[in-house]
Structures are given as C-alpha cells and as structure tokens.
C-alpha cells in the first residue's frame, strides 16, 4: 500500500505538537513573515503512523542481507546507538567548557588513538563528516604540505580509473587537476603508465587498497617508492579498510594520509544515506596540517587542539568537531571488538567474500578476476548473460529485491561491463550467503527460461520500476498544495 504524503493529512486549523500557550514575540512587525510555511498539520498519531509505515518500505541491514559493494553494510550493534544516546552525551553543548566534557573528550582521544593504531599512522583528526570530506582534508593537507615547502607547482592528483567518484571530485574541489590512469587486465595498477604521469606537477596519488575491484594492489610498495621519489604523496581512501583491518597497515604501505569511513569499517549506521564520519590519519610529516579541532591530553586533562597549537592546520571543516554522535558509536563498537575482534573483522569479511565468489564461480557466473583472491568484495560480470538473454545487471538487481535481498552495487566500477560488486561483510552467516547464491542461480535460470519475468521485477515492492527519465526531465522536487502552483 502506498503511503500518502504527510502534507495530505492536512487539516485546516489543526495544531501541531503542543508546546504550551504562546507568547507574543518582541520583534518588529516588518521582520515577520506573512505567510504560513507548508508544514504538516497532522496529529501526533498520524505522524507516528506515517513515518512508521514509511520505514517499513525500506530494505535495511536490520531486515535484509544487503551486499552492497563498497558500502560495508555490516551489523550495526544496537548498543552503540543506545550508549551514544545517553542523555548527557546528547545534551552536551559543543562549546561547553572542557570541565563539563572530560568524559566525552577522553572518549574522543581514545578513539583517535585506536584509529591511529589500526591504520599505522602518526596522528588522527576526527573532524571530517564523511569519506568525501576526509578526502578533502587529505588532499588539502597534501597541497598545504607542498606549499609549505614552496613546492607550488604540484597540483596534479593521480587517480586510477576504478576510483570512486569522490576521489576525482575531491581533487577538483581542492583546485587540483585530475590525471586518470588505467588498470591492467589482472586488476593491478598500470605502473608504467603511472611512471609516465609522475613528474614535478604531481601532488599525489589517491588509491584505495584493496581497490574498488576488490583486489589487493600487489605493487603497493613499488608504487609508494616511485610516487615518493617523484616528490608526490600517497593518499589512502579508507573505504575498504574492512578488508585489511589487523592484517596490514596503510602506514606501512607508505601512505601519507588516509581517511577512514567509520560508517563502513567501524559499523556506524548509514541511516539511509548518512551521517558518516571520515576521520583522517596522517604520517608524521603531515601532522602540522591536520584539520582542527582534535583532542589532546596534557597532564591527564583532555583539551582541544586548535589553530593555536597547529598554526599550519588546513583549518576547520565543520562548525564544531564533526559528527560526534557517529564517533561515539564507532568508539563503542571498537571497544566491544577489542584487539582480537578487530583482527577478526578482516578474517571473516574476506572469508565470506571469497566463499561467495567461489560459490558463484562454481555456479557458473563470470567472476571478473578469477585468478585473484577476493578481498572483502568482488565483482561478477553478467555480460554474457545480458548478451544471450537481454537480461542486464540492472534486471538482476531488481529481481533480487523480490527474493528479499538488497542488490549489490551495479555498474560500478565503471570499467567492468554489466557488473555486480558484491560485499557480504563479516556479519553475515554462511546460511545467508548460500541463500543469496541460490537466488542468483534462480534468477539466471529465469533469465533463460522467461526473461520478461526478470525484466518485470520487482513485483513485491511498494512500487514497480520507476521512471527515472521522467524524474530528471520533469523534476518534481517539492510538493505543491493543490491549487497552490
């Protein structure tokens, strides 16, 4: 059943939430608004019912297996939410004095430390509010580093063609030029091409390792050596950290700066699109440039490190210090894992991915890099099925929804045609993986026996396939009261 818009519960003269009797504002009349904004006039019950019903129209980790590649949809422990929402944490004003914040600050300090250790970097700042902002901080630090040395010509950022879109977009935002380099058929970087593009304009290279192809870049040490030799720095996109947690350290690989997606590796919830956290870690030489504020400990007291202490800092990226509530959740998660638990993350994320990859390969699916180990994710290509049946990766994705599975990432990375990027995560059971294989096999069988049926999918969702072209051509982005347009 579709759900009306909340505005359609409109009832003339209904009062919203009762906040008690009104005072008259002490404000000049000409400053006041004349119209009434289009906000709902629904009763509390209608509001609760409306949003509860809407929630039921979502797939989520709490209700479905959600193997969305590159997104690390693992279990978000409920206790992380519960403890992050303790009233004192929720009620703390961001500008409150440190005397009323030692508990909070200590927690943030310890989180910085744990993240530092988990990545092998020299220091961590928690301010970036998502991966992309972490990237921004990282590239800005790289630029600031070069500038601090008078090395002003370095404004090229190299990114592999398989990179996530935020990487090139970030480079542009930082005023850099993007140089794209290709991937070899074996999935590793084309290192000869890299050599060609490196030069006096090279600011740095952005990599994620394992890459978005789900492959560990085996030449990483060599890459680090030649980029450094060319005067460039290495940026690590930590979106895929889940694959290596406790196994190897970006710091050891030679990276100078890294962002971590706490909403992936450290299991803070995605919330239907955010909030996230893109904490950044840096090698010693980038420490002076870290975004402020972060937390420092002096004589057992926790205080803010600011521009005052770090005058070369790239500055501030948020009004206060990032997404604190997200950081609290990550902290709770990490403390509950402890050392052994963190090391197990990569063990089982990688075991699950390889198991799923092998099961699918044995079931006859084309794995994009069959000679390679999967990291925490891997790619299958449906190109030959699409050619033979006209059933595409998109159709498979939609059909999976009817089986009660969220679809993997489709059509990313761009270089593998008709691809599904599949990331099961460590929190799914073998049972779930086997059921997912069975569903894909079933869909493929249907693709050959009755392709139209697959192309019709989904049929069990609140809506059938949506007209995206119309959405973009005739954008309907806000509701207009009938007769109001």
């Amino acid at each position: 059943m579709t759900e009306a818009l909340i505005f359609e519960y409109r009832s003339e003269g209904r009062k919203g939430f009762v906040a008690g009797p009104d005072a008259v504002p002490k404000l000049p009349a000409e400053a006041l608004r004349a119209d009434e904004p289009t906000l709902p006039t629904a009763s509390e019950l209608e509001v609760v019912r409306h949003f509860t019903r809407l929630s039921q129209q979502n797939f989520s980790i709490d209700t479905q297996f959600y193997p969305l590649g590159s997104c690390t949809m693992k279990y978000n422990p409920r206790v992380c939410n519960q403890l992050a929402m303790l009233p004192q944490f929720l009620g703390r004003h961001p500008l409150g004095p440190v005397e009323h914040g030692q508990g909070y600050l200590q927690t943030m300090f310890e989180l910085q430390e744990m993240l530092r250790i988990a990545t092998g970097m020299a220091a961590v700042s928690l301010t970036p509010m998502a991966g992309a902002q972490g990237e921004f901080a990282g590239v800005a630090m790289i630029k600031a580093y070069h500038e601090s040395r008078g090395d002003d010509a370095r404004n090229q950022i190299i990114v592999p063609d398989a990179a996530h879109g935020t990487n090139p977009a970030t480079a542009t935002m930082c005023g850099c030029e993007v140089v794209e380099i290709s991937t070899r058929p074996d999935g590793d970087l084309d290192i000869n091409r890299l050599r060609e593009v490196l030069g006096p304009n090279t600011a740095g290279i952005m990599l994620t390792n394992p890459s978005t192809l789900g492959l560990f870049e085996r030449q990483i040490e060599e890459i680090a050596a030649i980029v450094h030799a060319a005067g460039g720095l290495l940026y690590y996109d930590g979106a895929n950290l889940n694959a290596i947690l406790g196994k190897t350290l970006p710091g050891d690989m030679g990276f100078d700066v890294i962002h971590m997606n706490l909403h992936k590796t450290f299991s803070t919830p995605h919330g239907g699109g955010g909030p996230g956290s893109g904490a950044v870690g840096v090698a010693e030489r980038l420490k002076p440039f870290l975004p402020v504020p972060f937390v420092q400990r002096l004589d057992g007291r926790y205080t803010w490190a600011t521009e005052e202490h770090y005058p070369q800092s790239i500055g501030r990226l948020s009004a206060f210090m990032g997404n604190s509530g997200v950081l609290l959740r990550a902290y709770v998660y990490m403390r509950m894992l402890g050392r052994a638990g963190m090391e197990r993350v990569a063990d089982f994320a990688v075991l699950n991915a390889n198991y799923l990859m092998v099961c699918l390969r044995e079931a006859g699916f084309d794995v994009a890099f069959p000679e390679r180990r999967a990291s925490h994710e891997f790619i299958i290509s449906l190109k030959s099925i699409a050619r033979e049946t006209d059933v595409t990766a998109m159709d498979f994705a939609k059909a999976l929804l009817d089986y009660g599975f969220h679809a993997p990432t489709t059509y990313f990375p761009l270089l593998v045609p008709e691809c599904l990027l599949i990331e099961p995560t460590e929190s799914e059971s073998r049972h779930a993986l086997d059921a997912f294989v069975a569903a894909l096999v079933d869909i493929r069988d249907t693709a050959y026996s009755n392709p139209d049926k697959v192309k019709e999918a989904p049929v069990t969702m609140p809506v059938r396939r949506l007209d995206d072209v119309r959405a973009a051509k005739q954008p309907d982005l806000v509701w207009q009261a009938p007769g109001a347009g």
Binding site: A23, R33, P37, P40, A169, F216, T248, P269, A319
Partner: protein, 453 residues
C-alpha cells in the same frame, strides 16, 4: 565472537570449499613484508555490560549543566517520537536509496524534507541535506560562483555578522578554488550598509547575509539583498530554521528574494550532541537547481503509473560526473534529515511558532534580568530573536568560569572572534529554560557583579 556469526564447523566447511587450509591464506596477495602480527596497543574486548558501565560513567562525569549558550547549537526540546522513529532499524541501518523500489521509505521522507525546507525558506527547491550549516554555507558560495552567469567573479561579500565558524569553514573549502571571501563590516550589531557605498555589487558573485545574524540581531536583509541584485550579485541567505517560523524567509528578502538559502538544521529536533551529527540545508531558485550540490529526491511514476520516489538529477553528482561534479559530497546526513522531518511534522507551523516565540520571550527575560545588574549592559539596540550580546565591565572568561562551576553554561565569549566588541558575551535562552533557570543564572551573576540582588 562478537558480530561474527561463524561457528568452527562453518569455518572449516567454507575453507574446504575454497581449498585453503587457513583464513590467513586468503591474505596471501599481501606482500609478506607488509603483513602485521596484529593490532598491538588495542585493548581486549569489553562485553556489552562493561562498555555500558564505562560509557555511563563517562556520561555522568560530564553532567548536564544548564545551558544558556547558543552560538550555532541550540537546546530545544525534542519530542520522544522523533528519535524513536528515526532509529527504527529500517531507517537507521539502510544505505543511500540507490535501489529506489526498496527504499521508498527513505525517499519519500526526503521528498517531504525538501518540501518543508523549501517552504520554510520561501524558495523553490531543496537538496537532501549537507553535512552541517557551515559546509552548507561553503557549498552555497561555490554554487553561487557556478550559478552566477552575469559576472565571472570569484569573490563573495560576506558580512562579518555571519557566523565565524561558517566563514572559517568556507575559507577552508573555497581556498583551493581561489574563491575569496570579502568581509563587510559590522555596525551596531548588524551589517554596516553604509560600507556598501564603497563597494560595487558587480564585483561579487554573491553577497551572503545571515538573519538573525550570529550576534542574534535582525540584520539589514532587504537593503543588502536589493543592493546585491542591483549589481548582478546573487544573494545567499543564511537562516536558523527555527527563526523562520516567525521571520520573513530569505525567499522574501528585498524585492526579489535571496537566490540561495542555507543554514544549520540542528534546531529542528536534533540534540546538541557535542556538535554533531547535525545537517546543513541548502535551497535555491528553481532555475539554478542544476548547480545544486548533493543528492536530490524527485517524485515520478512507476511502470503502472503509480507515484514513487527516486534520486534524481544525479548528473550533477560525483558518481556520474566525477571530476566535474558540483561537489564531492556522497554520504550526507540522511538520518538526521529524517529526524528533522519527523520533528517538523510533529510541530507543524504552529508548534514551531510557539517554540520560537518562547525562545524570544525567554531571552528577553534573561537579558532583562542580567542588564538589571551593575556592570552588565546590552551591546546593541537592534531587535533580536533568541540571542543577544551583553557587555560586561570585566573579562567574560572569569564570569563564565564561575557560572560553570555552578553548573551553568553562561553563553559564548565573543572576545576572540569579535575583539572589537570588548567584554562581550552572546547569551541564549531557549524554550527549555524556565523562569527558575533564568533566576538561577541571574542569582549567580548578581553575586559576581555584586548587586544587591
């Protein structure tokens, strides 16, 4: 094993299927020299009961002081239903709604969110949220530079009454693209319109105005808007959505209205939470929507003609346009926007108006109580919404310390950001502050200022 479901027998069966002896073998593509022994320095695991005890202790340690500080984060009441519903697993643990058919819940909520923000600000279209008010302001500046087709300026005129945090974040985010923020001076707590005489609007891609401004005062929005438009500059209006329950929205400033509005969404049902997660909102005129950064949800129809919702206009975004995207933003503040949508639905226009009015009354009461003390005066005469600047006869820091040790957050010390204002303090009393709370503040203040209270 916490959060890993595998049993020993699962593991052996899976390894057997893979033909490897040990999980460690799956990492054999990592060069030997890079493999580590583990994460020395990370402590042992805590049980759920233990971490609960630890976090409770830390939370208690921080206490719950009485808050008279605003300056960008406000202590409003959040109805129980808001986060009860927002943290339902289906909202909380979903990803970005890439598979629209399986995400109609989140998508419809965001469409409703967009409608509410557009309406509150008096503009046409809204995106699905940005990180916070400060980054929204920075994105608004970037957007204005892209959108202004009349001049190619890379300068934005920004009033010094605009939040220092917003200006600083914008500086950081604009620097790489060589966009410059030019400061418009303050006079009597508002933007100095006289200073415009020495400037030409045509030199600026946009003019940015905050109302109520950071100092709490109602600013000269109409004059500045008209001046900007007269020279082909766009207008970026920055506003607290709570204030918009009462005040003329940016879309109605001056003759033509602001072109872009943005701000911090925290007052809409989001706890102060040490500064985040909040959300930034960004709205604009219809004709510049394709310069908007961030996700946008649109309503369309499914193949049976039934209405449904989907992410749209994605050609602006990084995953499609890559290095030529309007912004690098990907993950935004979806869940927080969801909570805000629930909050605004519960409150309605009348509920918001009632809260806003109470905030205004309480801050007036506080200002009256404090300015009754010797050594405390109002800094400016301009009308204010729910924050006001007081001037002390002594340094602010000491006063705040005394208040703090009495469990009161007395406000925001302006002396670092606005040294020209002297011993100035920005205070705020939201609807949450009772008459007793205000007397408590005044009582301690009167001890400090030595009044015969």
């Amino acid at each position: 094993m916490p959060f890993v479901p595998h049993t020993e027998s699962d593991i052996s069966a899976m390894l057997a299927r893979l033909g490897v002896a040990d999980i460690a073998d799956l990492f054999d593509e990592i060069p030997a020299g890079l493999r580590i022994k583990g994460l020395e320095g990370i402590g042992p695991a805590l049980s759920e009961a233990d971490i609960s005890r630890l976090m409770q202790t830390r939370a208690r340690q921080d206490g719950e002081p009485l808050c008279f500080t605003g300056a960008g984060a406000y202590d409003h009441y959040v109805p129980a239903a808001v986060w009860d519903i927002a943290t339902r697993g289906e909202f909380y643990s979903a990803y970005t709604p890439y598979q629209a058919e399986a995400s109609q819940g989140t998508l419809q909520v965001i469409y409703e969110f967009q409608t509410m923000l557009a309406s509150l600000t008096g503009l046409d279209v809204s995106n699905a949220s940005l990180y916070d008010g400060a980054t929204a302001f920075a994105e608004a500046c970037l957007m204005a530079v892209r959108a202004n087709r009349r001049n190619r300026s890379r300068k934005i005129l920004v009033s010094r009454t605009l939040s220092p945090a917003c200006r600083e974040v914008a500086r950081v985010m604009l620097k790489g693209q060589q966009i410059e923020l030019v400061e418009l001076a303050i006079r009597d707590g508002v933007s100095d319109s006289d200073a415009l005489n020495n400037l030409s609007a045509a030199d600026f891609a946009a003019v940015a105005i905050q109302n109520p401004n950071f100092l709490g005062s109602l600013d000269a929005v109409d004059v500045l808007t008209d001046w900007a438009h007269s020279g082909g500059a766009l207008v970026i209006g920055v506003a607290n959505p709570m204030a918009l329950a009462l005040l003329k929205p940016p879309g109605q400033w001056g003759a033509a209205g602001a072109d872009i509005a943005c701000g911090e969404g925290q007052p809409m049902g989001i706890p102060m939470s040490s500064g985040g997660p909040y959300f930034g909102y960004l709205v604009c005129r219809q004709d510049i929507v394709r310069q908007m950064p961030g996700r946008i949800v649109g309503r369309t129809v499914d193949l049976e003609g039934k209405p449904g919702f989907t992410l749209t206009l994605q050609a602006r975004e990084q995953h499609i346009r890559r290095s030529r995207a309007t912004s690098n933003i990907c993950t935004n503040q979806g869940l927080v926007a969801t909570a805000a949508t629930i909050y605004m639905s519960l409150m309605g226009a009348s509920g918001l108006r009632s809260v806003a009015t109470k905030c205004n009354a309480n801050t007036n009461a506080l200002v009256d109580a404090l300015t009754a003390l010797p050594g405390v005066t109002r800094a400016f005469a301009a009308p204010f919404f729910h924050e006001a600047v007081l001037t002390f006869d002594r340094p602010v820091a000491g006063v705040l310390d005394t208040l703090s040790s009495n469990g009161i957050l007395g406000g925001y010390d302006l002396s670092a950001d606005y040294p020209e204002l002297g011993n100035a303090l920005l205070v705020c009393a939201t609807e949450m502050r009772s008459a007793t709370d205000i007397s408590a503040y005044a009582g301690i203040a009167s001890e400090i200022f030595g009044a015969a209270a």
